[in-house]
């Protein structure tokens, strides 16, 4: 009988190329250019998406993944045009469904490096449910959410991350929905890797993308992205160069939470509330929370993720990075186990299963 798919050698012939071109053999060193597709980029001049695209294209070769083993999956939105500009495999799917499409791709072929590019509407409005379920399953995929706090492609309606009271095309009297915090949602969905950066902070953005890539398991990255057409300056009040140091804080594993131009302020916890303390009067480094990406519980990440300007500095960096077995590995594991327990499937045996009788 024919060779059994997905059994002999575990992964099916589709993967042959992957293994053939395998991670074993030292990867040919590629450059940024190798990841630039032939498609003309179609974002508004000045859009934050350009910066993010540039960083991703820059990081890719450094990560040494092959173009042919990389798939970018997106939904619908300005940000979701992203895959067209990457010279890799790509699926520009339908609105909100990218995590589900990516799940099918990764589960089918775990050797692939799978990336989900999505927007605040795509991921948190129509796609919210797929997002949390992809996260809880902990597939080894990297989800990058371009958060511009607006619906760009449809020309300016509010999104689930738009500020309360904001006037938009669909809310001339102001938004009356309370915004969602993407990090809170990801953590509540049991995310194993959660990070945040923003479009113009190139080095930091590169670092975060690399960390996400290296994390085995689902990686959720929120990137603040400026939509200069429909929601310009959305993040300036804390990302602007001159105020950044005082209004943002970069999380670093094992380091106390210090920020400010003079590095003279920090974050402490006092009877179950986070507090900004002044190291110049009263507080000392010892009082500060020491960041711990690896904390078994998601409490700390959850707390930090909820800090908002002006009450707190806005945190960026890696909030959480812990290890758990991935969905696709366990799926493969069950297949291996089944094969070793019952033997590779025999179709004749199978369809003869149950009571049979013979008519001569």
């Amino acid at each position: 009988m024919p060779a059994l798919p997905g059994v002999k050698g575990r992964v099916m012939s589709t993967d042959a190329n992957v293994n053939g071109g395998g991670e074993q053999t030292p990867p040919v060193k590629l450059t940024r250019k190798d990841f630039v597709s032939d498609q003309e980029v179609r974002w508004c001049p000045g859009c934050g998406d350009y910066a993010i695209l540039a960083q991703v294209q820059k990081v890719m070769p450094e990560l040494g993944i092959k173009r042919e083993n990389t798939v970018f999956v997106s939904g619908i939105g300005c940000s979701s045009r992203f895959p067209y500009y990457m010279n890799t495999y790509g699926v520009h799917s339908i609105h909100g469904r990218a995590p589900a499409v990516a799940t099918g791709i990764k589960a089918a072929n775990p050797e692939l490096s799978v990336w989900v590019i999505t927007g605040d509407g795509d991921a948190l409005s129509i796609g919210g449910n797929h997002l949390i379920h992809a996260i809880r399953r902990n597939l080894d995929i990297n989800i990058i959410l371009f958060n511009n706090r607006i619906y760009g492609l449809t020309k300016g309606q509010y999104s689930p991350t738009s500020e309360f009271g904001k006037k938009t095309k669909s809310t001339p009297f102001g938004v009356i929905d309370y915004p969602l915090n993407p990090l809170s949602i990801a953590l509540a969905a049991e995310a194993t890797f959660v990070a945040r950066s923003f479009d113009t902070h190139t080095n930091h953005l590169q670092m975060v993308v690399e960390r996400a890539m290296h994390h085995k398991g689902v990686s959720f990255v929120e990137v603040y992205q400026n939509c200069n057409i429909f929601n310009d300056h959305a993040f300036d009040m804390f990302t602007a160069r001159d105020v950044r140091d005082d209004r943002m804080i970069e999380l670093e594993h094992g380091k106390p939470l210090v920020f400010g131009k003079e590095g003279d302020r920090g974050i402490a916890i006092r009877d179950m509330r986070l507090e900004v303390v002044d190291l110049n009067n009263g507080a000392s480094e010892a009082d500060l929370i020491v960041h711990n990406e690896k904390a078994p519980d998601s409490y700390l990440a959850y707390m930090l993720g909820r800090m908002e300007y002006p009450e707190y500095p806005v945190p960026i960096g890696v909030f959480r990075d812990v290890d758990k077995p991935t969905y696709e590995d366990m799926m493969r594991g069950q297949i291996d186990e089944a094969v070793s327990r019952m033997g590779a499937g025999d179709l004749d045996k199978l369809i003869r299963g149950g009571d049979t009788w013979v008519i001569e």
Binding site: M1, L4, P5, G6, M12, S13, T14, A16, N17, V18, G21, S37, Q39, K66, R67, E68, N69, T70, V71, V73, I76, P83, Y84, T88, Y89, G90, H92, S93, I94, R97, A100, V101, T103, G104, I105, K106, A107, A108, N109, L112, N129, H130, H133, Q334, A338, V339, R341, G343, A344, G345, L347, D348, L350, I351, R352, D355, T356, W357, I359, E360
Partner: protein, 621 residues
């Protein structure tokens, strides 16, 4: 062999030959009627009769014991010639409690045999069944051959001494007692069931003993008691030689998909969200991991079809399955599969609609949804199995078409096929038509939307292949290059191309075969699960010497090539469907034939008699 000895010592009693018998076992959900039915079926198969069966579960929610919604039934039809349906009206009804009687009596034939467990006809149960007075005491059952048996009492008596089990357990052997009785009545051997019990309860010898005793007791009772003067024999049928098994449509569908995966040498990826009556396909496939089958229970139907699309993009056989409401939810994403021209198969086990409708009942009302239920001009291929066994074959077909033509295929089963069972002649793997699935690997002159001259299929180029990097998506594509294109002429061309891809499948599927004369007065056209009843009805017409023929569509989009031409050869065309005339509408629009629709939307299959009546009416007009 044991059975024969048993058979011998009953020779005194009168034996009558029958060629077809329809039996229905009915009781409370807890009474094990499905098991009883299956055992009678298997034994009957071994004896060499042709069989067709239909379980009738209670609605999804478990109802209180003894209540009407809690009634569970199992009907089987066995015969010395070949049959295609579980039968219209039972000749025999076994009713284990008042509710079972209330629900099933209307179907029993006038003068039919009615066996009741009198012990269950107490105050309380009668009330639950809504009986004012006890039907087996008043003479409301005059029209039937009523046998009143205190089954519970008899079982307790039979087991009392030899079995150490709590009373509750002992009472649960009732169904095997009834089974034994029926075995006597229809002259079946006991030992297949005896053996089955031993295997089943290997580690519970006490249960084996109890049930075997009950079985024998029932048999012996019928043999000894005066009440049964006659018993019946149904000769073995002339059945094509081979190895047989009983199979339900859902089992056959699942096996067919596994077979497709083996034949195509591609892993099967099944993404589904549970829904009645499709869930069993998920249960079945989730046990097939040693075939490399990957099953994914998604968060909803949309995620399921999207994951299937993703798996197809990655080179797997992408499969998703659901029922009507789920198909509605999948419609937008199926459009993505049409646009990206990826091969997925969408199983829709149809149930009563609209909306939540009648989840456990059968219906054929999703044909037009399958044809048109997507935005834009969005054609897909559609196939529909005709019998439980045919589900295996058509599942393989669905994948053969999807992968060869690079197109989504909708596979329309229904609740009747899904749960109905029939003996199925098991094919040998080497007899199955293998089919080639080739991935593009050569980067030379590769374009994601270049086309095969015959089928217009685009190449299947999967991630992991160097040099074939490309992007697909839901925005209109430029032909050949696959780039985004808003260009008017290209759009028209692509709309035409997607349509033409479907049309060309007609070159790749068998012509329709006519059952009966190739021309004449009346042609009956059916599709899907109505095959059995339509064919049986037409067969009766043949016996009656009427010029009636039938064709049965298993390929609905595109239609087989010779369909239109066949329609032209008959004076009248009748289209019985378990919907309001959906195939009829397509036929009238396509061929401008005055096809007469015969709709039935009651959550139940056609009775042969309903069809023969209608056929005659149209025939005589």
């Amino acid at each position: 062999m044991e059975s024969t000895t048993i058979l011998n010592n009953v020779e005194e009693k009168h034996i009558e030959e029958l060629d077809t018998v329809v039996i229905r076992f009915a009781g409370d959900s807890g009474d094990g009627m499905q098991l009883t039915g299956t055992q009678f079926t298997n034994t009957t198969a071994v004896v060499g009769n042709d069989i067709s069966t239909l379980p009738d579960f209670p609605a999804e929610i478990r109802a209180p014991a003894g209540s009407l919604p809690g009634v569970s039934g199992f009907q089987l039809n066995f015969s010395s010639h070949d049959i295609r349906t579980p039968g219209d009206e039972p000749d025999v009804l076994v009713a284990m409690n008042p509710a079972a009687l209330k629900v099933n009596l209307p179907d029993l034939q006038q003068g039919g045999i009615l066996i009741v467990n009198t012990d269950a006809f107490n105050e309380n149960n009668l009330k639950k069944a809504g009986y004012a007075s006890n039907p087996i005491e008043d003479d409301s059952l005059g029209g039937y051959r009523l046998f009143k048996l205190p089954i519970t009492t008899l079982v307790r008596a039979a087991l009392r001494d030899d079995v150490k089990l709590p009373p509750k357990e002992i009472d649960r052997c009732r169904n095997f007692w009834a089974l034994g009785l029926m075995y006597w009545l229809y002259d079946r051997p006991l030992d297949p069931t005896m053996k089955w019990l031993e295997a089943k309860f290997k580690n519970k010898p006490e249960l084996v003993k109890a049930n075997q005793l009950a079985l024998k007791a029932g048999f012996a009772y019928a043999d000894a008691a005066e009440i049964f003067t006659t018993h019946y024999r149904v000769k073995r049928a002339a059945i094509t030689p081979g190895t047989y098994r009983n199979i339900t449509g859902n089992e056959a569908t699942a096996l067919g998909c596994v077979a497709a995966s083996v034949l195509a040498k591609r892993s099967l990826f099944y993404a589904s969200y549970p829904i009645t009556p499709a869930s069993d396909i998920l249960h079945e496939l989730s046990m097939r991991k040693n075939f490399g089958v990957k099953t994914f229970q998604a968060e909803d139907e949309i995620a399921a079809v999207c994951a299937a699309i993703g798996s197809a993009f990655a080179g797997h056989l992408g499969l998703t399955g659901t029922s009507g409401p789920g198909l509605a939810l999948k419609s937008e994403a199926i459009g993505l599969a049409v646009m990206t021209e990826l091969p997925i198969v969408v199983i829709n086990v149809q149930r009563g609609g609209p909306s939540t409708g009648l989840p456990t009942k059968t219906e054929q009302a999703d044909l037009l949804q399958s044809m048109f239920g997507r935005n834009g001009e969005c054609p897909v291929a559609i196939v529909a199995p005709a019998t439980p066994g045919d589900c295996f074959h058509m599942a393989v077909e669905a994948f053969r078409i999807a992968t060869k033509h690079m197109i989504p295929v909708i596979y329309l089963s229904d609740g009747y096929l899904a749960n109905g069972a029939e003996p199925w002649r098991i094919p040998r793997t080497e007899d199955l038509p293998p089919f080639q699935v080739n991935f593009q690997t050569d980067p030379d002159g590769f374009y994601p939307y270049s086309r095969d001259p015959q089928t217009l299929a685009r190449p299947w180029a999967v991630p992991g292949t160097p040099g074939l990097e490309h992007r697909v998506g839901g925005i209109e594509k430029q032909d050949i290059t696959g780039n985004v294109s808003y260009e008017p002429e290209n759009h028209m061309h692509m709309v035409w191309t997607r349509q033409e891809k479907v049309e060309r499948i007609a070159d790749d599927i068998p012509d329709l075969e006519i059952f009966g004369e190739s021309q004449g007065r009346l042609l009956v056209v059916g599709w899907g699960s109505t095959y059995g009843s339509i064919t049986s009805a037409v067969e009766e017409m043949h016996k009656a010497g009427k010029s009636v023929s039938s064709v049965h569509l298993r390929y609905l989009n595109p239609f087989p090539k010779n369909f239109g031409e066949i329609l032209g050869r008959f004076d009248r065309v009748l289209v019985p469907e378990l919907n309001m005339g959906q195939l009829a509408l397509l036929m009238r629009a396509r061929f401008l034939v005055p096809a007469i629709s015969f709709p039935k939307v009651k959550g139940k299959p056609f009775k042969i008699s309903e069809l023969t009546d209608k056929i005659l009416e149209v025939y005589e007009e």
